[in-house]
């Protein structure tokens, strides 16, 4: 069953655009990329945004519950609701992204620590149970429910969900994601900042919340923002030239203006200029961090496309060094070793 007009795959379209007679003079192989473009787009960017809010709110709620000695009841309830609301779109987004959505459950036929995507699927399953239970029992005000125990039991999953998106992207061959050790930290701290921002908005709107709650969540929001700024610098510095699709490419505006100015700079400005921000300022700064995190995750996911299709970046990502000499003319050594050395870490 061949269709009348062939359906071209993305990879074919990508290279066909580049083949021109002039390319004969390009460096490398006619200026063609070595890698294939990632097939992940808006679904994955939104998923990372949403699951970050969910897991971050979960962690904050559990911490407030365990260490708040009975205060913050309204904040905990809001956080449980936010966590559930942000978790709900996650499975549909992930399923929509698959080439064969009806086979989504194949992710769960094995348990594979080598594959962050497989572990992420399990963590999403693991987190959804406590998130749902805690939100429902809050709603029904079931006092006998052991919410601290359940909350604590879900923490490993929540930590994993917070920490893994950047690691998933980094465990690939795409230079902008892989040539750094801080992408996981960057996306994780950004998730925490969005969760704190969302909780600050909720605290400002919730008539049951008090002055102390607002003050504390505002402080946490500031700290997570500083952590995000530090992680962002660590990422840009450690990735070096590999970060170019983000710092100079098509997504540079979104990355700089969105992630840096809107997400980190402006909320910081609100804090600096006002000792105790009012309701309006809190909501505004919370919304700004949310928008900034979305811009960050959107640009990081999409910069992978540009990184994969840039032959110069491909060569940079696979350049030889003393640890990894590769195969070149004159390197024929006869070690007889077939398997690579043990995983360094």
């Amino acid at each position: 069953m061949t269709p009348a007009t062939p359906v071209f795959n993305q990879a074919t379209k990508d290279v066909v655009k580049r083949v021109t007679p002039e390319a004969v003079r390009e460096e490398g192989y006619y200026g063609l990329p070595m890698l294939k473009r990632p097939l992940w787009g808006w679904e994955i960017a939104l998923y990372f945004f949403s699951e970050g809010i969910s897991s971050g709110a979960y962690i904050l709620a559990t911490m407030a519950d365990l260490c708040g000695s009975g205060r913050y009841a309204s904040l905990i309830r809001d956080a449980r609701y936010i966590s559930l609301a942000a978790l709900l779109p996650c499975p549909p987004l992930l399923i929509a992204d698959l080439g064969r959505p009806e086979r989504f459950h194949h992710m769960l036929r094995i348990f594979k620590p080598h594959s962050p995507m497989n572990m992420g699927a399990w963590a999403l399953m693991g987190l959804s149970a406590p998130v749902t239970l805690l939100a429902l029992t809050e709603f029904a005000s079931l006092r006998w429910f052991p919410r601290r125990v359940v909350g604590l039991a879900g923490m490993p999953f929540a930590f994993f969900m917070l920490a893994y998106p950047g690691v998933l992207l980094a465990t690939t061959s795409i230079p902008v994601w892989a040539r750094t050790r801080f992408l996981g930290t960057l996306l994780g701290t950004s998730s925490m900042a969005t969760a704190a921002g969302a909780l600050a908005i909720a605290a400002a709107l919730d008539p049951k919340s008090d002055e102390e709650t607002r003050e504390v969540i505002h402080r946490i929001e500031n700290i997570t923002n500083i952590a995000e700024a530090a992680a962002l610098s660590a990422y840009v510095y450690s990735a070096g030239p590999a970060a170019r699709p983000l710092t100079k490419g098509r997504y540079a505006t979104m990355f700089r203006l969105g992630a840096l100015v809107v997400g980190i700079g402006l909320p910081a400005l609100v804090t600096v200029t006002r000792r105790k921000p009012g309701r309006g300022a809190t909501i505004a700064s919370g919304l700004l961090s949310l928008a900034g995190a979305l811009a960050l995750k959107w640009s990081v996911v999409h910069a992978g496309h540009d990184s994969a299709l840039d032959p110069e970046m491909n060569r940079y990502g696979a350049r030889a060094d003393s640890d990894n000499p590769g195969w070149r003319p004159g390197t024929s050594v006869r070690t007889g070793v077939m398997r690579a050395r043990q995983l360094p870490g």
Binding site: Q10, P38, M63, V167, A308
Partner: protein, 280 residues
Amino acid sequence: MSTDAFTMEMLDVWKRPEPPAQQVETGFFTDTTLCIGCKACEVACKQWNQLPGDGFHWTGNSYDNTVSLSATTWRHVAFVEQFPLDGGGNSHAPRWLMMSDVCKHCVQAPCQEACPTGSLIYNEFGNVYVQQDICNGCAYCVVACPFGVLDRNREDGKAHKCTLCYDRQKDGMTPACAKSCPTESIQFGPIEVLRERARKRVEELHGRGETDAYLYGAEASGEYSALNAFFLLKDRPDVYNLPEAPRRPVARMRSNYLSSFAAAVGLAVISAFCFAKGDK
């Protein structure tokens, strides 16, 4: 489909049938010095594996109109035409380098390590194989492969690449490309035999004064394993659009997790302090 059949199909993926008995490991040795660029391998591969066309595009810059491997192109002949342009650059006489590219069937394959469904496996011949009944098209393998081999097909939504003619091997036959290659540039066989033959061939070429000949992927290098489909090349790898020193993505996974978890736990602890302290 009846509900019962549907349920059975859903549950099928958790079944673990007895795997076939291990066979001698096989692979390809592609000796690019013998390639004449006839593309018989490309045609034989398309025919045997019933792969659809990718449209027809004149590149206008070489005899390479296939351009790259894809979900529907599992052999691709690269044409490198080295005629000193503008009178400079190349130290050697004008020459053509031709290379039939294919999935490298890495001994430790990043695509296999990434695959979250376990669709990508090493089969009984030690070849890297996508189980089409398992793959759900998540496209993780597409970004994991450092050679840009894997691709997802738009029509069926699944990942595809060279199977090393698994079906033919099971019947004791040679893969279609190697069978059709008129110059034995593509050689198929037990991987140990091929590696030995390739080493002899390099020595022979060096003896003839062709000292630029070397093997790409016959042995592990740094963090990357050997390739069960390896090559004899005459110039730097990037001349053929191959990565000079591919990296193994999972090699840095643990330290990535570590710094990421450290930040997450650190922020959780700080927020716990803030909650405990209140607004004092």
